[in-house]
Structures are given as structure tokens and as C-alpha cells.
């Protein structure tokens, strides 16, 4: 990231954030942001609620693009319906395609434009990695792609990376702009706003006039950032990076690990025999991962109606590779754990020239037995994680 990070910034007082959100909503964007769900947090439609940005949501933003469950199409064998195969016509703002369906190809205009506020740089970066899978030149998944096209990602830079964070080791960083359309940076009582993409520019062009119209006393809550603001933001960025590098987890030797795993001996490295041992075989790490993207396609049927559905799947489950014959090529947790690590740090690298990990630390924090991917990588890098 160069010096131009801080050029041409706008500024809004923290207390005015909700005014801006209202303006987005008025210009017909649906606004999503972190919402609490019991003890956990995830992204959802905020309605009139005040925006609160947690350090990191429990559930990553990926489910707004690649939902845990979605209908690809439905079929009706009753003989009464107009069409036997129907595809979804709409995608609701929270990413779920409603059960109501209409004929013909996947509609591309069924989803209203959305703004997701409060995405962290790691999650935004993860979207770019998911693009390799679902929106590559070779293959475009229409369900994913339409959601991506219709969404403006507003990232909030991380002023205080957490103890499980290791984004800098994965090529990102607390102020990384990859995957963001707009970035908000904390600076004392304000946010400095950097508009990054064309989509972001359009959002502000459409919304700012509404902001002015909404308040005649003080026509605008958005200002141009002055030198003092920029200095404060620059200091905050430096402090954040300092905090991250002081974090014992910040320097995970990923390159060395990728190198080891990429050798012909990587797959059969003796370390696999030990390293998986405490793995319980649940799907916490994969389901909460912002880049894991494996799915299973099946049919959900009643008597003469059915839906072809796509559900998340996890390489941690034995069923993931169980053959109809009963043979399972990944018979134990060792093979399954290896698959997860190899996919992220070897197979994905071979296919896309980058690792499939953004260092968000969710798997680190949520693993029931503290099986820490940073430690695993350190072992393959020949070092010891401390």
C-alpha cells in the first residue's frame, strides 16, 4: 500500500454514521451490517438499527454471496404447473433466494443493490479469493456473480487487530484495500473515507445529494479530510500495524510452509501423523472460514415438487468423500485435516497463485480444541510457533 492511501479522503464524524446509512437506504440500497444473533454476530439487514462494528463478526461475510443453503432451481412433476423447471427470480438482501420461483434463466435483475458496512479487510480480501472459484473467466456462477455485482463492500480498517489475527502474514493487512469498494478508517472521533472503486463512487454520488437534502440546518455531514485528519489516520495505521506485529501470531512463516507443502514430499510428510491428532472432525473451521467454499448439490423433494439445492459441505466430514461403494478415500481425520491444509496452502496456490487464507483467525479462535493453523504452518515451515 503506497502513500496514496491517504489522498483525497472524505471525513464523517462517528456520530453521523447513521445519517450516512440513512442516505444509502434512501437511494434504494439495502444496507447490511454486523448484527447480533444470540452470543454470535453475523451480517444482516440492519433496518433502523444503529450500526455497531465488532472487531470481527463470528460468521464471515461470505454467506451473503455464497449462502449456506440455496435453491438452484425447482421442478414440478404434478403436471399442473406451467413449466416443469423453474429458476429463482430474486435474491433477498441477506443473500437467500426465496422459495418463490419463476420460469426461464436465472434472472440477473432480481436482487436490489446492497451496501455491506463494517466488513473487515480480511473478509473483503476473501471475496476476491472466492471470485477465483465462482466468478473466474473460465466459469461464472450466476448466483454468486449477481450478488457480487450488486453489492458495494464498505470495509472498516482495523485499528486494533486481535490476538488471533495474522492477516499481514497472508498478504493482507489491517488497512488492506483488496476487495473493498470503500474503506473507512478510524481517526479520533471521525472516520476518514476512501472511495476505491467505481461502484463505491457511484454509491456516494447517488447518496450524498440525499444527505444534503435531509438536513437543511447543516447541509452536509461529509467533509474533505484536512492534513490534521490525515496525520491522525496515518498514525492510527502505523499503530495498528505495530500492534499486529507485536502480536506473537503476526509473523506466520507461510511462504516456507507453502514451499514445504508444495514439494513432492509435502503430502506424505511425517508431520501429518501427529499434527491432526487433537482434531475433533467438526466443521467449525470450514464453516466459519471466509474462504472455504466447498458445497454439495442435492435434491429436496416432496411428492411431486422438488428443489435442486446447494448446501455448504465440509472436508472435515467423512461423508464429504464417501463413495457409493462404501469406499472412502479419506478414511480418517488425518486425511481430512490434511486436505483442508493442502487445499488452502497448496492446491489453491497451484490453481490461482495465492493461498486461500486471509488470516482472520476465526478458525484459531473458534476451534473447540485450539488446533491452531498458525502452529500447523509453523511446523511445516520447520520452526516452532511461539
Amino acid at each position: 500500500m503506497g502513500e496514496d492511501t491517504f489522498k483525497g479522503l472524505l471525513k464523517i464524524a462517528k456520530e453521523d454514521l447513521d445519517v450516512l446509512v440513512d442516505a444509502f437506504a434512501k437511494s434504494s440500497y439495502v444496507v447490511l451490517a454486523p448484527v447480533a444473533e444470540g452470543e454470535a454476530t453475523k451480517f444482516g439487514v440492519i433496518g433502523g438499527m444503529r450500526i455497531k462494528i465488532p472487531h470481527l463478526t463470528t460468521r464471515p461475510v461470505k454467506e451473503l454471496f455464497f449462502p449456506q443453503n440455496e435453491t438452484l432451481f425447482s421442478f414440478d412433476c404434478s403436471g399442473k404447473a406451467d413449466s416443469t423447471i423453474k429458476t429463482p427470480d430474486a435474491v433477498t438482501p441477506d443473500g437467500v433466494i426465496p422459495d418463490a420461483v419463476m420460469p426461464d434463466a436465472v434472472a440477473t435483475d432480481g436482487i436490489s443493490p446492497r451496501v455491506i458496512m463494517g466488513v473487515r479487510p480480511c473478509d473483503a480480501r476473501a471475496l476476491v479469493l472466492l471470485d477465483y472459484v465462482f466468478a473466474s473467466n473460465e466459469y461464472k456462477d450466476p448466483y454468486y456473480t449477481i450478488r457480487r455485482e450488486q453489492t458495494v463492500v464498505i470495509t472498516f480498517a482495523c485499528p486494533r487487530p486481535g490476538i488471533a489475527c495474522f492477516c499481514a502474514s497472508t498478504g493482507g493487512g489491517p488497512y488492506d484495500e483488496t476487495g473493498s469498494d470503500v474503506m473507512f478508517m478510524e481517526s479520533d472521533d471521525s472516520y476518514l473515507i476512501k472511495v476505491i472503486s467505481e461502484k463505491g463512487r457511484r454509491l456516494f454520488q447517488e447518496s450524498l445529494p440525499l444527505l444534503k437534502g435531509g438536513c437543511s440546518e447543516c447541509p452536509c455531514v461529509i467533509f474533505e479530510a484536512d492534513d490534521t485528519d490525515i496525520r491522525a489516520a496515518r498514525d492510527a495505521k502505523a499503530a495498528s500495524e505495530q500492534l499486529l506485529s507485536a502480536n506473537c501470531s503476526a509473523n506466520v512463516p507461510i511462504e516456507a510452509a507453502v514451499d514445504t507443502l508444495g514439494r513432492s514430499t509435502g503430502f506424505s510428510d511425517p508431520a501429518w501423523e501427529e499434527i491432526y491428532r487433537k482434531c475433533l472432525g467438526c466443521a467449525v473451521c470450514t464453516y466459519l472460514c471466509p474462504t472455504c467454499h466447498c458445497f454439495d448439490i442435492g435434491d429436496e423433494e416432496t411428492n411431486d415438487y422438488g428443489e435442486r439445492v446447494r448446501n455448504w459441505d465440509s472436508c472435515m466430514f467423512p461423508l464429504f468423500t464417501l463413495h457409493a461403494s462404501g469406499h472412502n478415500p479419506r478414511p480418517s481425520r488425518k486425511e481430512r485435516f490434511r486436505q483442508r491444509v493442502m487445499h488452502k496452502f497448496n492446491y489453491f496456490v497451484e490453481a490461482n497463485d495465492c493461498i486461500a487464507c486471509v488470516g482472520c483467525g476465526r478458525c484459531v479462535e473458534n476451534c473447540p480444541v485450539n488446533l491452531d493453523i498458525r502452529q500447523v504452518l509453523s511446523v511445516f515451515a520447520g520452526g516452532v510457533f511461539a
Binding site: 444473533e37 444470540g38 490476538i163 467438526c282
Partner: protein, 341 residues
């Protein structure tokens, strides 16, 4: 690093227990009594320890003891070949008793190293205390950067704060009302019984479920649905449960397919009720399922109620006796038949 073991200069109870575990592991591995010794070692995050599989006596110094030793290590036993030593708390040993009764591991293959338990901490609770009485807005930050354990409290440090919490205020709910903090079966008991937390009457644990049962049916179902709806079907609860050892879980059956991964609440309910019924008369409320859940579903509501039903119906508490038949394999003339379990 974060010391979750409370090893200050003074030789506290935890220090004595930790030394005891290390010495026992060393002895067992040196003598060849066990091939592997399973205990806890320092985790990579504050307030965490992680399971350790020790095979060389010299590695026994990695073993630790403290209120962050949350995992029920008996979950690893059914898969083990060879002789194994395992550190167990009062609750953990009761799941082990069940594994032995159910022929999942033979008694002579396992060396039970019991620890008088003073309760383990609940990380969700710590977050809540930090948020409501402490220095941070609840659930808005990953607050704690390092933690130290003293005899009675945790000293938590984060960005711009140091905060002391009494251990007693952040114990896991299962521990608060624990009736058996001292392992009921063991080969070696580390320390002595006086080091354990004071045992509560088992009725104390039923206060909450009893109160819940008094709610209107609709209120109960809506609470229950709201909790279960959040389930992401990661099956961490099942995987963390030592008694969920079926080689193929009914949820993984494809023919017939009992459970769909589709977004139905009813499938999620079926899974959770199915699992709970499968551990009826076996569950010991060790809390492993609740701790493993990444979205914090109140699973103890189900397990605790099941435990209560079993106790009231059969005067049976799971995992206390190693020389009996499992509850559901036994029949007594006076067994009630006025319900379906």
C-alpha cells in the same frame, strides 16, 4: 506467553496438581505402563489450553493444569490402540466410565489420572462480564490480549485495560452446580480431595431447567426454536461429545436420509433432539457440547433436562458406577413406564 496455569512463586494448589500430573505422566511413560499420555498444554490464545498427546517422558513438562483446561479428553479414547493415560476432571471421568461400560475402551487399557477439580472458566461468561461490568462494550471487541491466573481470580489485559475477574464469577455453568468435582474412579488421584471445589447437591443444577419447564408451552418452544435456528450444522457439539462415538451418526446416513443440510428448522431440531435422546442416561453435563458450539446455542437446556428426567425416573446418575449395566441396558421391576424417554 499467557500463563493459564497460575504458576506464581507461591506453591498454590494448581501448581501442586500440575507437578503431580507431570510426575505421573513421566512415571507412566518411563515404565511403559502407557504408550500415550493425554493431558493439557498451553494453548495459543489467552484463556486457552489445548490437548497434548505425550509419548516421550521428557515432554511431560509441557503438561499444565489450571481453570482453562476445558476439554473433555476422554473424547479421544475410543479410537486409541494401545495403553493410554488420561487426565480427567470429575465430569470427564464419568464419561469415561460410560465408555468402559459400553465397551468402547477396556478398563485395563486406560490409566485414569484423576484431578480434584475446582471448576473451569467459561469464555462466553468472561466476555459478558467484561462487557457489562468491565471496560469494553459487550461482544464488540476481541478484548483480551493476555491473561494470568491467580488462586482465585483472572487478571485480563487488553487494549488500554487491566481487569480482574473472580474465577467464581466466570465458572462454566456446569461447574457452578457440579456435584462430583472429585473423580469417582481413578488409578491415580493427583493431590488430595481437599483441593477440589465444594460439591453441590445435584438438585442445585436443575433449578434453571425446572424454571424453564414452568413456562408456557409456546414460550418454551419459541425460546428453543430461536436457539436451534442459529445452528450452522457444523456438528461441533457431536464431535466434542465423548459419548457421541457412533462410527456413523444417524445424521450422516444417506439411505435413509434422516437429516437434510437444507435450511429447515425441523431438521436442526431433529438432529439436536435425536442426539440428546441418544445420550439420555449417559450424558454427565460435562459441558463439552456447549463449549464447542461456535454460535453459543444453549444446549444445556436439553442435556440438563434429560439428566433430570433420568434421575427422577430411575434414581440414576450417569457415570458414577463402573460395575453396573448402562441405564438403558438394565431393567428393574420398579422402573416406571409412564413416559417415553
Amino acid at each position: 506467553m499467557n500463563k493459564m496455569t497460575g504458576n506464581g512463586t507461591e506453591k498454590g494448589t494448581r501448581h501442586i496438581i500440575e507437578e503431580g500430573i507431570r510426575n505421573t505422566a513421566t512415571k507412566m511413560l518411563e515404565s511403559g505402563e502407557v504408550d500415550v499420555f493425554i493431558g493439557y498444554e498451553e494453548g495459543t490464545l489467552p484463556l486457552r489450553t489445548t490437548p497434548a498427546f505425550i509419548t516421550c517422558p521428557e515432554d511431560a513438562t509441557r503438561l499444565v493444569w489450571g481453570p482453562a483446561c476445558e476439554n473433555n479428553l476422554t473424547v479421544y479414547l475410543p479410537k486409541f490402540q494401545g495403553a493410554v493415560g488420561v487426565v480427567v476432571k470429575g465430569c470427564d471421568v464419568r464419561t469415561l466410565t460410560n465408555l468402559i461400560l459400553e465397551n468402547q475402551i477396556s478398563r485395563d487399557k486406560v490409566k485414569i489420572v484423576g484431578v480434584p477439580c475446582s471448576g473451569i472458566i467459561d469464555r462466553d461468561r468472561i466476555r459478558k462480564v467484561l462487557g457489562t461490568e468491565g471496560p469494553i462494550e459487550r461482544s464488540m471487541e476481541r478484548p483480551v490480549r493476555s491473561a494470568q491466573v491467580t488462586e482465585r481470580s483472572l487478571i485480563l489485559e487488553g487494549d488500554g485495560f487491566e481487569f480482574e475477574i473472580q474465577l467464581e464469577d466466570v465458572l462454566a455453568p456446569s461447574c457452578e452446580t457440579c456435584a462430583y468435582p472429585i473423580p469417582v474412579v481413578y488409578d491415580v488421584l493427583i493431590g488430595d480431595e481437599s483441593m477440589a471445589r465444594h460439591a453441590k447437591d445435584s438438585e442445585a443444577g436443575y433449578v434453571e431447567v425446572t424454571r424453564f419447564a414452568e413456562l408456557e408451552r409456546d414460550a418454551r418452544f419459541s425460546y428453543f426454536s430461536r436457539e436451534i435456528e442459529r445452528c450452522i450444522q457444523c456438528y461441533a457439539c457431536r464431535q466434542a461429545c465423548p459419548l457421541c462415538y457412533c462410527p456413523e451418526c444417524f445424521t450422516d446416513r444417506q439411505s435413509p436420509k434422516w437429516i437434510s443440510r437444507w435450511r429447515g428448522l425441523s431438521d436442526k431440531i431433529l438432529f439436536h433432539l435425536g442426539r440428546i435422546l441418544h445420550v439420555a442416561g449417559r450424558c454427565v453435563d460435562c459441558g463439552a457440547c456447549r463449549r464447542a458450539c461456535p454460535v453459543g446455542i444453549d444446549l444445556r437446556l436439553l442435556t440438563k433436562n434429560m439428566e433430570k428426567v433420568v434421575k427422577e425416573s430411575f434414581e440414576y446418575e450417569s457415570g458414577l458406577d463402573i460395575d453396573c449395566l448402562p441405564l438403558l441396558a438394565a431393567y428393574k421391576r420398579e422402573d416406571p413406564d409412564d413416559f417415553i424417554l
